[in-house]
Amino acid sequence: MNLAYHDVRHRVGRFVGTSLGIALLFTVVLAMAGIYLGLVDDATILLRSMRADVWVVQQGTRGPFADASRLDPSIVSRVSALPGVTRARAFTYQVLQRAPLAREPGRSLRMALVGLDWPIDRGDGLPIVRGRALRQAHGELVADATLGLAVGDVLHFAREEFRVVGLTKQVLSSGGDAMVFGTLADAQLIADDAPSDAIRAERERRTERLRATDLGRAQPQLEALTDDPEFHPPVLPSPPIAAVLVEVDAPASADSLSRVRGALAAWPDVTAYTTREQEQLLLDGAVEKPRKQLALFSMILVITSSLLIGAVVYMMTLDKTHDIAVLKLMGASTGRLAGMVIQQAWAMGALGFAIAVAIGQQAFPHFPRRVVLTTEATLAVGALVMVISTLGSLLAIRHAIRVDAGKALEG
């Protein structure tokens, strides 16, 4: 006969009520875990959707997301030539704030603009939820849905029109800015589309640089072209890129990865990271503090809930002191009595956890920050709940074991 079950059934209202209270605590624990995973996911979704095995960045920097990494575009072809490399792509990354929306001219958008190496990279790896990836070398953008844009929206940059052709879901920079993807050339065009003063200054700089070259001196009429932001005279250095994305021939084999990295290590101007390392760098930088905070919160909650379960189970056991004495006189083993207590704690923890998961499924989608609850994370919190329940019941078990059987004979 299961004593815990019958006892719980006898006072099911009280039991469920208490479990509900505990459930709310567990809901917050789940939310903490989910928010953390959301942070990690937000921070790394871009990295993952770029589908690179190795990120080549400026020597000594920690990659385009953490530092300002500037590489000469010629590195792309140098990397492509390495044995074991199947593909190398350029990648640019700039955060900008503009008001380019044709239908709402006043509205300022803050975005992180990524340049994709058209035509090898058309953004097919992106988690596009509406529309499509890029199909033209010029004038198309894929934007994150959090910007509030729709497929077909037209944006004005650099006196040109750019059409939103696709929307991604939750592709954000670690700073929380929505990502916008275009071809490399478009991205550089947009990034260079500074306010008019800056344009004039840039034009003067270009003219000056042009005059300093043999070409400029020989053909002064070229100066007229410096008005055009797309104009890159061949002798002028091309604008830098942020990183080179490298795919190796056998990405699963550590051997193949380390061969490519070994080759890159000898280059004086670059540093190479695997996607994992980039991810770790990103997490260390962007997610470290919130993670510590969330972990601390969760710890406090875990302690609170084990104390609460402990107190409730202890009270339930205290209520049964006389019954426990009677059971002892009947010859009930310590195992049976401890079992009754711990099963009640487990039942309370399990019920509270189940309610918490149910509440979470309803509530988390409405949270302002994204809450990602993987099955593994849910199971881990579930296991934690069982540990909490077990710890919480220890004091009650001690009480049950110490009950004097003689109490049953008195009153």
């Binding site: 006892d7 019954d323 006189l329 009947m330 010859g331 083993s333 004979l409 009153g411």
Partner: protein, 228 residues
Amino acid sequence: MTDALRAEHIFKHFGEGDTLVRALDDVSLTLEAGHVVALLGPSGAGKSTLVKALGLVSLPDTGKIWLEGELVVDDGRLLGSLTELRKRFLGFVFQRPNLIPFLTAQQNVELACEIGETASPRKRARELLEWLEVGHRAHAMPATMSGGEQQRVAIARALANRPRLVLADEPTAALDKVRGRAVMELFQRVAREQGAAVLVVTHDHRTLDVFDELHEMEDGKLGPARAA
């Protein structure tokens, strides 16, 4: 035939110096299987202390106790496992029924059968309740039963493990005269039909005719047995 219980030279003291209480002062007692024995005496005489000592609830300071010829307490020390001995030999009935409040009558008895490791606990519980004439209340919760009904269930529970010795400390104190007498008569049936030795502490002198033997206690000393 071996006695259900034999106790020799039992001493139990509480406190020391001025506050020393000789609750049991050289008590020796033999209980025969199939006999109902009453333990009488004024308040504070040591009756409950004796029941606790014989029931191995609160062991004596010194003395020996045999259950069914097996030495279980030697010089105040317990030989063997307490839960085992309780399961094998002992049944308790208390002043109040002390039923487990979250179990039905049937479940209360069944649990005792389970703990006592009797075969087919459900059937035995059912039989005991029928035998004690509370079969019709088998599925009632204790809170919904009368005091007399509860005490019958409590007796059924005490018998679950087929104890050789049933100890009852003022089992009728909470019952009215008629129900009190009915319970005492049940103890007689328990002794006769189940073959157990039954020791009942009582203050009720109107039911003494039920007993085979009477023992009087005073100041921790047990007087000689006399017939009812």
